[in-house]
Amino acid sequence: MSNIFSSSIGRKLIMSISGLFLISFICVHLSVNLLLIFDDSGELFNLAAHFMDSNPIVKIVEPLLAIGFAVHIIYATIITIQNKKTRPQKYSVQNNKATSSWSSRNMYILGTLIVLFLAVHLSDYFYKIKFGIMPTITIDGTIMNDAYLVVSKSFINHFWYSLLYIASGLFLGLHLTHGFWSAFQTIGWSNTLWLKKLKTIALVYAIIIATGFSIIPLYFLIFM
């Protein structure tokens, strides 16, 4: 195992494992968020948010998630800086469009946009729920944060805020169209048969994630 994580493949392994961990988190996150639009009373979402807030397993996963994000971001930065150094003299013309997808070439830019969104997102919801003053609601005799009220209000009252969430959902989708299958490729779980399948699964997953996250603010903007 000597020096594995200083090798180019080892660094990519870290990116792919942390990426797959974040992909599974995104799936759970979207499942909970979709409750926002399936129950206009907000009861289901509040119950789910309360469950996530009080569940001991989530308490353990939370710091792991923070580490996952940090590792993914730090290694992406290291890899990008090192890769930039490999071509000191650029081509005067390079027709990248003919050979690869825009997302695959701009994963770091997409990632940066997602991180910027994450900063806004965490300061607005996560920080407020954890450390701020939240309105409360009583469901089945249990007093809990009325997260539904906070989320729905911010989407209904702030057009630009909703737009930010819609755009970020799309950025995340684009990031995943490449990141999902690329993670399996890096681990080595790909062959002639599976490469095409993985690319299709990645596209489907990315569309589900992008659409899922984007329709929530859209729903509040249009129907509420």
């Binding site: 195992m1 000597s2 594995i4 090798s7 180019s8 493949i9 080892g10 660094r11 990519k12 392994l13 890899i79 090192q82 890769n83 150094k85 490999t86 071509r87 000191p88 003299q89 650029k90 081509y91 005067s92 013309v93 390079q94 027709n95 990248n96 003919a98 050979t99 690869s100 997808s101 695959s104 070439r105 994963m107 490449h178 299958w181 690329s182 490729q185 890096t186 681990i187 080595g188 779980w189 790909s190 062959n191 002639t192 490469l195």
Partner: protein, 246 residues
């Protein structure tokens, strides 16, 4: 057909280079790109004002891996599955301006005009891209049972001619497809399996040491590869490397 050529001219490795404009006329559409450069060079020699354009070439039938030019932003030009010597002028329109550059990557320094030093590929091969055992003669080869699938995939990988288009086109100047082709080729065959662990470790270490970038799986290398080497060989390389390391 008539063309305007913008060609990278550089006296030697230490000199600064720049683009120079040339025109060629009455080029037959079946002329190959290198033949078109030969025609240009003939006229430059006859004029006697400047040196002919230096470019690498040898077999001119797509098997030696010597030629390699970055033409209009594409490695080996606009066609796919071919080397520069197999590129014909019918892929262009008469009157086109064609930009011709050498491969650009830190481990491929320009020696002169369009010629780059690809010794770094040899160094990667010297690090482990070989088998140390005697493979014997025909009857010995027949005694080794190899599945059709492994034989086919090893053969596909062995088609790599080391031209460097993968590095040239990769946004990270990564040599992963080249290294993957060698590792995948040898690791699938009984004689190559013996040194698979050491080979994966040494070749990847050498690739990193020489300054090639990491793989972002954009797939550009495979698109530009004249031998259509699949990206799945990179997955195989990753498997071999991780198996060797863990």
């Amino acid at each position: 057909m008539n063309f305007t050529l913008k060609i990278w001219r550089q006296k030697d490795a230490k000199s600064e280079g720049c683009f120079k404009k040339y025109t060629v006329s009455d080029i037959n559409s079946d002329t190959t790109f290198l033949e078109m450069l030969d025609i240009l060079n003939n006229s430059l020699i006859l004029e006697g004002k400047e040196e002919p354009v230096a470019f690498s070439h040898d077999c001119r039938e797509g098997i030696c891996g010597m030629c390699g030019l970055f033409i209009n932003g594409r490695a080996h030009g606009p066609d796919t599955g071919i080397t520069t010597c197999q590129l014909t002028m019918r892929n262009f329109k008469t009157g086109d301006t064609i930009i011709v550059e050498p491969w650009r990557a830190k481990p491929f320094p320009v020696i002169k005009d369009l010629i780059v030093d690809r010794n770094s590929f040899d160094k990667i091969l010297q690090a482990g891209g070989y088998i140390s055992v005697n493979t014997g003669s025909a009857q010995d080869a027949n005694s080794h049972l190899i599945s059709q699938k492994d034989a086919e995939e090893a053969f596909d990988a062995s088609a790599c001619i080391g031209c460097g288009a993968c590095v040239a086109t990769c946004k990270n100047s990564s040599a992963m497809l080249f290294v993957a082709a060698k590792i995948s080729h040898l690791a699938r065959l009984p004689q190559g399996k013996i040194e698979a662990v050491e080979r994966a470790k040494k070749m990847v270490a050498k690739m990193d040491e020489l300054g090639f970038g990491g793989c972002s799986n954009t797939g550009a290398c495979s698109v530009e590869c004249p031998k259509n080497i699949s990206l799945t060989h990179i997955a195989k390389l990753n498997r071999e490397f991780l198996k060797a390391k863990f």
